[in-house]
């Protein structure tokens, strides 16, 4: 019996997930080059500051759900990397820690104003920015000499390929709101009212933008039903001359493909630039972080100017640190500078909790119109009412 008890005891000891209470636990959803860069940065911080940091990679799809489940029970991370658009939702759930105790003007001045402002919500700061993300226009320099400057040129580009089966001028996930938003903004529309408190999905601008997206599909300018993986495949195989995607796409392009990045074209019907969503990825602190002073030391070091320069080169991230763009290594990189230029015409994604209820209904509207050929205004109106019914009991 004593032996059984000892075994049981050892087993229970082994079950304790967090063996080292002094380490700072950091969750992230990075993969590939970004993950490698983060690992290297963390190793440097451990060396320089003598703080142990444990990195845990959590799949992106499960990230938010795991956070909401783990933090209130005290099992969550101390720090985590995520985009700013859920901050409103997380503050309502008391999952994240305000940082204005730690951050003063000298730290805030490191970043582009839009980037640090995006990490704030209702008068408090909840994180420091690591990278800014927006889509831009990738094009193959072997197929296309000059990227289009306005959308009318897209429809004349079918002659790039002899028949539709060979390829398309442009590829992007046309039934996903994230890239579609650039047309919405380009037609002068917005997801929210002027005061940003309520959504309005079925505006005339939204109808015009969605009609335009459908025309791109019907005129065989873009292929239908593609997902992110296929965007990369088509672009790599030369079956698409251009792709709309973000900085992460650079790592998906094969080495033998000649490519460049340009800012998105102007929408010919309105004369406005097509403005994509701006997402700011930052490090946030859990409200249940074990040692907040130590966690902030790690957060601060990971978002420093030195680290930003390193990440911009190693992981091809578009960093928000202003000092980084003055270093010669970055100012000589045309892709990074093109994304930097695209940043000036972007629309920051709303951090309101309402934003979360927009994605699925809007996606359904895009599918209905582009895939099934439903009426544009009807589809948007039903997205609006669908969204309202999701938000019921949430208000």
């Amino acid at each position: 019996m004593p032996r059984v008890l000892t075994l049981l005891f050892v087993f229970l000891l082994g079950c304790r997930a967090d063996a080292d209470p002094d380490s700072v636990l950091l969750w992230h959803a990075y993969s590939g080059a970004e993950q490698d860069a983060l690992r290297e940065s963390v190793a440097r911080i451990e060396r320089e500051q003598g703080i142990k940091v444990r990195l845990v990679s959590v799949p992106y799809e499960a990230f938010a759900d795991k956070l909401t489940a783990a933090i209130p029970n005290g099992n969550g991370p101390d720090l985590f990397v995520f985009a700013h658009d859920r901050i409103g939702h997380w503050t309502a759930n008391h999952l994240i820690e305000p940082l204005e105790y730690y951050v003063d003007d000298s730290i805030a001045n490191r970043y582009a104003f839009e980037a640090i402002s995006a990490m704030s919500y209702e008068g408090s700061l909840y994180g420091l920015p690591l990278a800014v993300k927006s889509v831009a226009l990738f094009y193959r320099t072997d197929i296309l000499k000059e990227p289009p400057s306005e959308t009318n040129q897209l429809f004349a580009m079918n002659e790039l390929y002899t028949h539709a089966w060979d390829g398309y001028p442009l590829v992007y996930e046309n039934t996903n709101l994230y890239p579609h938003a650039l047309w919405l903004h380009g037609f002068g529309g917005s997801l929210f009212d002027k005061d940003g408190q309520r959504t309005s999905l079925a505006t005339p601008e939204a109808v015009a933008a969605l009609t335009f997206a459908r025309k791109l599909d019907r005129d065989k300018v873009v292929p239908g039903g593609v997902d992110a993986r296929m965007v990369a495949t088509l672009f790599n195989e030369g079956k698409a001359a251009m792709a709309i995607s973000g900085p992460w796409f650079q790592n998906d392009i094969n080495d033998d493909v000649p490519w460049a990045v340009a800012t998105l074209p102007m929408v010919s019907d309105t004369g406005l630039a097509a403005k994509p969503f701006l997402g700011v990825e930052g490090i946030l602190m859990s409200s249940r972080a074990k040692n907040k002073d130590r966690a902030f030391a790690v957060l601060d070091a990971l978002t420093s100017d030195d680290d930003a320069v390193f990440r911009a080169i190693a992981a091809k991230q578009i960093v928000p640190n202003q000092a980084a763009y003055e270093t010669s290594e970055i100012s000589k990189n045309p892709a990074l500078m093109a994304f930097r230029k695209q940043l000036d015409s972007t629309v920051p994604m709303s951090a309101s909790p309402l934003m979360r209820s927009v994605w699925t209904p809007y996606q359904n509207a895009l599918l209905k119109v582009i895939d099934q050929g439903d009426d544009v205004a009807d589809a948007l109106r039903s997205a609006e009412s669908e969204m309202k019914s999701y938000a019921e009991g949430q208000q």
Partner: protein, 519 residues
């Protein structure tokens, strides 16, 4: 021969002590919390009046109002007045160990006024009170632990109780249960003082129940039973505990959640509202995919079509594979079981890729033979068919394996006898094969129906509910309410409860049918 009176008393006493201890601990914690909250509030009030705070105060300061940053509206500083009257900024390089807590407390005061609370994960108590020129914040620790457990009281009452009980036994007859109940109820007196009447009455009721059981002799019988199967119960305990923790508790919590509504982490009791919303269709027309009855119809159709296909294909293949003239049938059998051996989500993703509009394998074949490409997920019928094709691929091997096993067990002399008697192949199939297959196929069919009814992976990964949620089944619908439509966990839990009830109903009907069939 009656067993010793003290066996029954030991059991009744144990129950009483457990109830009384629980009552004491809850009373003690409440009293402790009241005392400490009061001390912290008092300390903060002293600071606000400019007095020196008392002992056991770890930090107490007068905190200045927040000074906003010039450039950033979301940044602000605070400072505290030290004992010597000087001012010090909270935070920065020379920050004290409690600076962060004091800063946070001042923020909380600005938001919602004076407060006092225990700090989670520590034994600190923090209080904030209004003061001229800012807010007074005090952090205290308890000077001494909470009240000790009153061993003497409990022990004394137990001994007294045992005397009463023994006396009752000596008198005999109906005095025995009376003495036992009375003796074990002694602890009800302090319990009443700690936790009130309800808990004390509960304790008395427990004692009376045990006394009654002892009088009827049920206790003795239960004891004998336990001793007889002792080792078996000991072996069962770990599994029973694991089942309780891993299945029982989540199940009960899940059932309970259905009666609540989640609003950003705040749960409110809404009674049957979630169920009413689901079962009434929430004011949507029957053809709306978000209407429960539409989804239920889709789920039932999905289950029926799949099970019919699984069973008919599985049995047909099993009949072919049984033929001795078939060369390499072991190889075929291996190949046909393969779809079952591959994790189903991988299969689902492969099929999803094959149904892709532009470059999927199926449309490629269609356009090579000169047919139009089909946009599989844009229409309900084709989208549903895509799901069914995927799940049939996944499901028939199981039915085939079960049928093969049953077929092996049919004695071949029955067929020979039937052949001698001149039975046609159809008659042999109808009168020998089918009756022998049935006992094995019915449970497999019931199980297959439950699996299909809840086949989340295929629906979620292949059609993903397209078009517009039309091909969603009940479990994917429940998932979407929980994780894609504003975290309505209560509604999702209600969905899960309804699914559970439907499956229970199905199991009961299924077993009735099987029983009837066996007769």
């Amino acid at each position: 021969m009656r067993r010793n009176w003290w066996h029954a008393y030991a059991l009744a006493g144990l129950v009483s002590v457990i109830v009384a201890t629980a009552a004491f601990v809850s009373y003690r914690n409440a009293a402790f919390e009241r005392r400490e909250l009061g001390r912290a509030t008092h300390a903060a009030t002293s600071v606000s009046k400019g007095l020196r705070p008392m002992d056991n105060v770890v930090a107490a300061y007068l905190v200045s109002p927040a000074v906003p940053s010039e450039h950033y509206e979301f940044l602000r500083e605070r400072s505290v007045t030290e004992a010597d009257g000087s001012h010090r900024r909270l935070g920065g390089k020379n920050a004290g160990p409690f600076d962060k807590r004091i800063y946070d407390a001042a923020n909380q005061y600005d938001k919602s006024g004076p407060f006092v609370q225990l700090v989670t994960d520590t034994d600190y108590v923090i209080a904030a009170q209004p003061a001229s020129g800012g807010v007074a914040v005090a952090i205290t620790t308890p000077p001494k632990g909470p009240e000790a457990f009153p061993w003497l009281v409990v022990l004394g009452l137990l001994v007294m109780g045992s005397l009463v009980c023994a006396a009752g036994t000596l008198v005999g007859g109906s005095a025995r249960p009376l003495g036992l109940a009375l003796g074990a109820s002694g602890l009800a007196v302090p319990t009443f003082l700690w936790s009130g009447l309800v808990i004390a009455l509960f304790l008395v009721a427990c004692s009376m129940l045990i006394a009654w059981a002892d009088w009827r002799g049920s206790l003795e019988r239960a004891g004998r039973e336990l001793r007889k199967g002792g080792i078996a119960y000991a072996f069962l305990t770990p599994t029973a505990m694991a089942m309780l923790v891993l299945v029982g508790i989540p199940f009960v919590v899940g059932l309970g959640l259905g009666f609540y509504n989640n609003n950003h982490g705040e749960w409110t009791f809404v009674g049957l509202d979630n169920f009413i919303q689901i079962l009434s269709g929430d004011g949507r027309s029957l053809s709306d995919p978000l209407n429960f009855w539409f989804t239920l119809g889709v789920t039932v159709a999905w289950t029926a079509v799949n099970v019919v296909l699984h069973v008919s294909i599985g049995v047909a293949l099993a009949l072919v594979l049984r033929q001795r003239w078939l060369k390499g049938r072991h190889g075929f059998r291996m190949l046909l079981i393969l779809p079952w051996a591959i994790p189903n989500y991988i299969t689902a993703l492969i099929w999803k890729g094959m149904f892709q509009f532009e470059y999927g394998a199926i449309n490629s074949v269609l356009s090579t033979v000169g047919l139009d490409k089909v946009n599989w997920f844009s229409e309900w019928s084709t989208s549903f068919a895509s799901n069914v094709a995927t799940n049939t691929w996944l499901g028939f091997p199981f039915m085939m394996v079960v049928a093969l096993g049953a077929l092996e067990n049919i004695p071949s002399d029955m067929y020979e006898a039937a052949e001698v008697d001149g039975a046609s192949p159809w008659q042999r199939f109808h009168h020998i094969t089918i009756p022998h297959l049935m006992p094995a196929m019915l449970p497999a069919l019931a199980l297959g129906a439950i699996w299909t009814f809840n086949m989340f992976n295929v629906i979620y990964l292949v059609s993903d509910g397209r078009p517009g949620g039309g091909t969603d089944i009940l479990v994917t619908e429940a998932y979407r309410w929980a994780f894609e439509r504003g975290e309505r966990y209560g509604l999702a839990a209600a969905y899960a409860t309804i699914i559970f009830l439907i499956l229970i109903l199905w199991t009961i009907i299924g077993s009735r049918l099987a029983k009837k069939d066996a007769e």
